[in-house]
């Protein structure tokens, strides 16, 4: 059972502002979806082979060929909702 407290908790974990109607609707919907996906708990079986065994490998690279400092700054900063010079402006954190 999904309680209203569970919904509050999930919304807060997801950083989501939800209206009362949204919370009620999500409660019913998530309940029904969980009812469906819970079927997997009745399936017997443990992982036998690692998924895509041939494909799994570490992908690493040297940290070289870095871009020249600042070449993307303008483009990226132009997308910021609020800025001051070359800084993104945010609310006070501490």
């Amino acid at each position: 059972m999904i309680s209203p407290e569970d919904i509050e908790k999930l919304a807060s974990l997801g950083r989501l502002d939800l209206s009362r109607e949204e919370k009620e609707r999500l409660g019913t919907e998530i309940e029904s979806i969980l009812g469906y996906i819970s079927e997997i708990q009745h399936v017997v079986g443990e992982a036998e082979v690692p998924l895509g065994k041939q494909e799994l490998r570490n992908v690493v690279r040297e940290d070289n060929d870095v871009d020249e400092s600042g070449i993307y700054s303008k483009m990226l900063l132009d997308e910021a909702p609020d800025r001051e010079g070359n800084y993104v402006r945010v609310k006070k954190i501490l």
């Binding site: 919907e29 998530i30 993307y72």
Partner: protein, 477 residues
């Protein structure tokens, strides 16, 4: 010459362009006119780019120099979650309403190099979450074959654009069927490549272990052309496959059908069409056997655990700080919460909540870990029928979707009903294998021809087998 869009394929258009029967500009104009005429009813596009003719002129210069590639001057539609530097890209969400891409996706880089012409960005379910293109912040898309029905989703705009002759080809993205299911609903061809064949760099992420960009085209040969051009290793995507030589099959092919899996929830018209399609392939010389995939029936449940888990994680980056929408509030935390509350639509919120649920301590083992374990068992089922010691097949065939395109609004009230449309398409994403959806005829309802489709799945990196069967099924040379 007059351009007959209905008759064009990429190869035909390329031949005409090379022979100067028409220019890339004239071809682009023909598509723009077609969009002008039809898109008011269909709404396949969120935006038509203002530099289409400029792009076409560049292609014409290249053609004049005799340096044309197969895709030079070919008008293509791009799903609104694939980045083109400097152009708006929103994933059909309010949270990215005025966002401009700051770089090119790898597939876009390749298409630009080839000289393709981008017509515009197509409508989709917000963040690719949905199977009907009704979950867009910018209006719904209608099925070009029957405006009262959905085009499928989430790449519904891309499929509708190709089906209405509003683009010669399109790119979509497929996390659980989002290329193949709309292709099927709109009567066109859709390919989900082997995971890692197309780079995900520049694709707005949903479920990173499942996402794959794929082409939507009118013919299998066109899908093959785009596949060959875009299957390029990309160091920016750590899951991108290393370059490899494609295999070729010449032997007689055997196709497996998981009959047990087709028993529940399949519309009788879809089943009848499927059985007829099997007969058609049998008479073309293909052998059929019944195969068993014991865990495949759990694919949808596995998918609706792993995908929300990955999506809720990927979507954490939309916080109103560095880009996109920012809703004002007194504190930073309040700003996050308000921005996301306003910026995300209902389906996105639902999946974030669900993702947080299956990842919470206390439920993590029961859902997320269990789903991962079962994922490997589904993968093993497929591996056994493709490579095992018993009955072996070259490909597996199912309907693409259990029903034809459904009426607009019919499933919006019941998310679970909506999810069931993915039942046959999610296994390929879970296993990472390639799958090709091809149109298989129509059913007539209320005097309208509603498309139906079938799907072929093959072993990893064996798209060649799917193309061979698909072309033979559609009678392409």
């Amino acid at each position: 010459m007059t351009i007959d869009l209905a008759q064009l394929s990429i190869r035909k258009a390329h031949d005409h362009l090379s022979k100067k029967d028409f220019s890339a500009r004239e071809l682009a104009q023909a598509y723009l006119r077609s969009i002008e005429k039809k898109d008011a009813d269909v709404h396949a596009y969120i935006e038509i780019y203002d530099d289409v003719l400029l792009q076409a002129d560049k292609a014409d210069e290249r053609i004049a120099l005799g340096e044309a590639d197969m895709l030079t001057g070919i008008p293509i539609a791009i799903k609104d979650n694939i980045l083109i530097a400097g152009k708006k890209v929103s994933a059909a969400s309010k949270i990215l309403e005025n966002y401009h891409a700051t770089y090119d996706a790898h597939v876009i880089e390749l298409l630009k190099k080839a000289g393709a012409v981008f017509l515009g960005r197509t409508n989709m379910d917000e963040f690719a979450m949905g199977g009907s293109t009704e979950h867009s912040a910018y209006g719904i898309t209608h099925n070009p074959h029957d405006f009262s029905r959905v085009p499928g989703g989430s790449s519904g705009g891309s499929a509708a654009a190709v089906a209405m002759d509003g683009a010669l080809a399109a790119l979509g993205s497929d996390t659980g069927g989002s290329v193949r299911q709309p292709a099927s609903f709109c009567g066109v061809v859709g390919l989900k490549p082997t995971y890692g064949n197309f780079s995900r760099s520049g694709l707005i992420a949903m479920g990173s272990s499942l996402d794959q960009i794929g082409p939507i085209t009118k013919t299998v040969a066109d899908a093959e052309i785009l596949f060959r051009q875009l299957r390029v290793h990309d160091p920016k995507d750590s899951t991108s496959l290393a370059a490899y030589e494609e295999k070729k099959s010449t032997e007689k092919l055997t196709i497996g059908i998981p009959y047990d899996f087709l028993e529940k929830g399949v519309d009788p018209a879809v089943r009848k069409n499927f059985d007829e399609s099997v007969k058609k392939l049998e008479s073309a010389g293909y052998a059929f056997v019944s195969v068993s995939l014991p865990h495949v029936e759990h694919s949808l449940a596995i998918y609706y655990i792993l995908m929300p888990a990955e999506a809720s994680t990927n979507l954490a980056r939309f916080d109103g700080v560095r880009y996109g929408l920012r809703a004002d509030a007194p504190t930073l935390l309040a700003q996050y919460v308000k921005t996301r509350g306003r910026g995300f639509g209902a389906e996105v919120k639902r999946r974030i909540m669900l993702g947080n649920y299956v990842l919470s301590s206390g439920y993590y083992d029961a859902y997320y870990n269990k789903a991962n374990a079962l994922r490997s068992l589904v993968a093993k089922d497929f591996d056994t029928v493709f490579n095992g010691n018993g009955v072996r097949v070259h490909a597996i065939m199912t309907p693409t979707a259990p029903t034809p395109a459904f009426p607009i609004g019919a499933r919006m009230a019941d998310p679970l009903q909506m999810y069931l449309a993915d039942i046959f398409t999610v296994p390929a994403n879970i296993v990472g294998i390639p799958a090709l959806a091809v149109p298989s005829g129509t059913m007539v309802e209320s005097g309208k021809n509603i498309p139906l489709g079938i799907q072929f799945m093959g072993p990893h990196r064996r798209e060649d087998i799917l193309f061979r069967i698909g072309k033979s099924f559609l009678g392409e040379s």
